[in-house]
Structure formats: structure tokens, C-alpha cells
Amino acid sequence: MGVVALTVAGAGGITGLRLYPVAKPVDPITLTGNVGAGAYLARASGCIACHTNVEGGGPPLAGGTGFETPFGTVFAANLTTDPEFGIGDWAIEDFAKAVRQGLSPEDVPYYPVFTYAFYQDFSDQQIADLWAAFQTVAPVNEPVPVTDLAFPFSERDGLKVWRAAFLHAPRTTPVSGQSDSWNRGRELVEGATHCAACHTERNIAGGRKVDTGRMQGNDVLPGGSKAPAITSAALVSSGWDVDSLSYALETGITPTGDAFGGGMGEVVQMGTRFLTQEDRLAMATYLMDQSDE
């Protein structure tokens, strides 16, 4: 009897969650996008790095990269213009909702392996730019492996609860009194380049410990790798300064003469090495002086 009651209650809860709305309305976006600006933002945001299965030799942005999390393996989506397996049949408003809200066109939440939390402040112009750039990607008519997590994580509607608890606004608001470069760095580090996604410790539910673990490093990244602490103090004690950090974001060289591998190697190779010198310097300036903590 008790089991039946629990099952009914559970089923009722899931149905309730399914009906619970989380999507915010997206106003029509009629701005003209700039392909170059969009491609630049896409690189900065890691779209190419995560949605390209480099290990498997997959085509750019065709997805398929597997992220092994404690809850199961999540596979990156195909973001090419293929209408069947990619985003070729989406409208720009669908794209805006996916990027800024982490929701599918049908309002189904994406797993937070997708770092949409950091893109919530993207402007309509930035969305239009990204959209224009994605339209230049050749279609790849191939599905990606289906993300198959164990219950209850398989219930994406359960992510609505997760979002209520752990979806935080990005810290991209400019700080008065700081230089333009510092604020640009803050915009990139806390937003598009989503450094905190890897470099912040997570709780048992996979939520970032934004109060106690911010930029303190993470020893249990998907796939078993680690990300070191990148608070300003930690960076200083590891021998970094603005100059060497900016140079590392271009080249991958660390102050010890080593070259980045792992996730950071991918970040540089597919992302930050394509940024302007000014933007890399801005990121380094902010990271070495996260003084509003």
C-alpha cells in the first residue's frame, strides 16, 4: 500500500513538474547578426570546444562529445544546420532560449553540463551574431548518442527544481571604479568563457558552490580530470601574473615552461588563442585582481 502511494505521489510530482513553467518569453529578435562577431563569441564561449568530438575525430560542432558526470554520461548536441539532427529547423528565438535559458524549443531543460548559466546576460545583438555564425556551419546529418542517465536524473523535468536551487545569475555587471579592461575581463571570465564552470567546486547535486567554492578549483570534473584554484591569491602563489597569464591564454605555456593539456589545453586551442590580445589581457587583468570578492 505504501509503495503504491509513493508511486502515485512520485508520478504526480513528475507530472506536476512537467507542467510547471520555467521558460521566460523571448521577444522576436530582428537584429542583423555579424558572422565574425558571432564566431568570435562562439569561440570565447567554448561552443566549438565542447560540441566538437575531437577525441573521436568528429566534424566541428556536430556534437557527440561525452561528458562523464557522477550522474551518467551526457553527450553534447549536434549544433550544425542539419534540420534532422542539428538545429537547422530552429528559429532564432529558439536559439536565444537555448543559449540564455538552457531550455529546448519545447521548454525541456538541458542538463547543466551545458554552461548556459554563464550566457544569461547575452544581449539580443550577441544572440543575433551567434545565430548568424551558426548559419555558416555545414550540416552534419548524424545523430549523437542519447544521453541516458539513471532515474531520477533521467527525468529532465526534475532539473526545474535544480534550476530553482542552483541556477545563479552571472557576475558580469560592471563594477564602477574599475578600469574598462578589468570590466571587460570580468564580462568574459564570469560570462562567455565561463571559467567558473570548471574551476569552482560543486555540491553533491552538481550545483556550483558560489559562496564557498568560487574559483577554488574542482577535483572531480567530468571524465575524472581536475581544475586548479584560480582565485587571485592561488594564481599568484602558482607564479602567475597578468603578463604570463595573458600569454598562456594565447600559447598554452605556463610559468614553469609546461604546456597546457587536458581541458585547459582545449580551452586555449579552440577558444582563447583566437581572442584579441586586448581581450586576453583583460581576462588576465580581472583574474589576477578579483578584488570585489
Binding site: V35, G36, G38, A39, Y40, A42, I48, T52, V54, E55, G57, P59, P60, L61, A133, F134, T136, V137, A138, S225, K226, D243, Y247, E250, T251, G252, I253, P255, T256, G257, D258, A259, F260, G261, G262, G263, G265, E266, V268, Q269, M270, R273, F274, L275, T276, Q277
Partner: protein, 191 residues
């Protein structure tokens, strides 16, 4: 005499560091780990000059290129016989399952090292980044030429030695270490 003493002290220091970093490694395993260490130390030493923070010295560039040549290409590949892997090595088994790509990167590093030596007299350029074309406003789509190159397996553009030798030294240096990073990303386990 003083110079000899300093050299001896430096050698001891290097050996001591090596011993700590590669504790337990023997034979060929130790040899290849030391090769990587040597390239890292040389890179650390020359990076300030390549960044324009120290006066340029063509001989230092040639010496650096020689170190890279010693430890890249065929000499490097000879130290990775099929499946020879054990702690404390951080080599991934993917090296042997994807030997074609690994060996291409090793050869590519050797090519860049050779080009560095040939270009030593070119000196430092205007810090032209290796990928400046992407940012020059001529990016007509998401998949610029560099991106296609990156997906081609080696992580950097395929260029002829002749073309490379015409580049500025700092550009070649950046491209060389980007090969190192591309290789570490795919074939080195992170500790």
C-alpha cells in the same frame, strides 16, 4: 673554476628535480620523461626573450631549437615503443591507438624546431599571433581555415619548412608550443 662549480651545482639541481618529478621511472620511460622535462625547462628559459622581455639573441634561439630537435620527431617516437607505458608516466594509451596523429605531432614539432633554427636571424617580429587571420576581420564563417586545420588532427596548420623559415621567431615559438599543448591535450593524462 667558478663557472665549473656553478655548472656542477646546476646539474645536481636539475638531476634532483628530475628525480623527484620522475620518481620510479627507469630506462626508456625515464629517458622520454626527461626529454619532455628538458623541453619544458628550455621553453621556460627562453619564453621571456620570445616575448620581448629580454634582448634578442639568435644563438639562444638556435640552442633552443637544437633541444627541441633532439627530443622531437623520430628521436621522440623511438621512446614510445608499442604500448610501453607504466606509472609514473602520464602518457595516455591513446598514443598507440592513434599513433598516426601522435607521430604527426612529434614530426610537426621537429619541423617547427628546424624552422626556428633557420629563422633565428629573422629576429622577433611584431608579435604577429599565430592565428591573427582569424581576428583580422576576414573570418567569413564559423569554420575559418584555421579551424579546418585544427580538425585535421594535428592542431596546427600544415606548412612547408620553407614558408615557416620566413616567419618571425616569436611566431614560430608560439606555434611550436601550441603543438606541445595540442599533444598534451590529446595524449597526456592530467595529474
Amino acid at each position: 673554476m667558478k663557472f665549473k662549480t656553478l655548472t656542477f651545482a646546476a646539474t645536481i639541481a636539475v638531476l634532483a628535480t628530475t628525480a623527484v618529478a620522475h620518481k620510479g621511472a627507469k630506462g626508456m620511460l625515464l629517458e622520454r620523461m626527461n626529454g619532455m622535462l628538458a623541453m619544458g625547462k628550455a621553453t621556460k628559459a627562453i619564453a621571456p626573450m620570445m616575448r620581448g622581455l629580454e634582448d634578442y639573441d639568435a644563438d639562444r634561439t638556435s640552442d633552443y631549437a637544437a633541444i627541441l630537435q633532439t627530443h622531437s620527431g623520430d628521436p621522440m617516437l623511438a621512446l614510445f615503443p608499442d604500448g610501453m607505458n607504466a606509472a609514473p608516466s602520464v602518457a595516455k594509451d591513446a598514443i598507440w591507438t592513434n599513433w598516426k596523429e601522435f607521430s604527426a605531432l612529434a614530426v610537426q614539432l621537429e619541423t617547427y624546431a628546424t624552422a626556428l633554427d633557420l629563422a633565428a636571424q629573422n629576429g622577433l617580429g611584431n608579435a604577429a599571433p599565430a592565428n591573427s587571420s582569424m581576428m583580422g576581420g576576414d573570418m567569413t564563417g564559423m569554420m575559418g581555415a584555421d579551424m579546418i586545420g585544427m580538425m585535421g588532427g594535428t592542431g596546427v596548420d600544415e606548412k612547408t619548412l620553407e614558408t615557416l623559415a620566413g616567419l618571425s621567431v616569436n611566431t614560430l615559438f608560439v606555434q611550436s608550443v601550441q603543438v606541445c599543448s595540442a599533444c598534451h591535450t590529446k595524449f597526456r593524462a592530467e595529474e
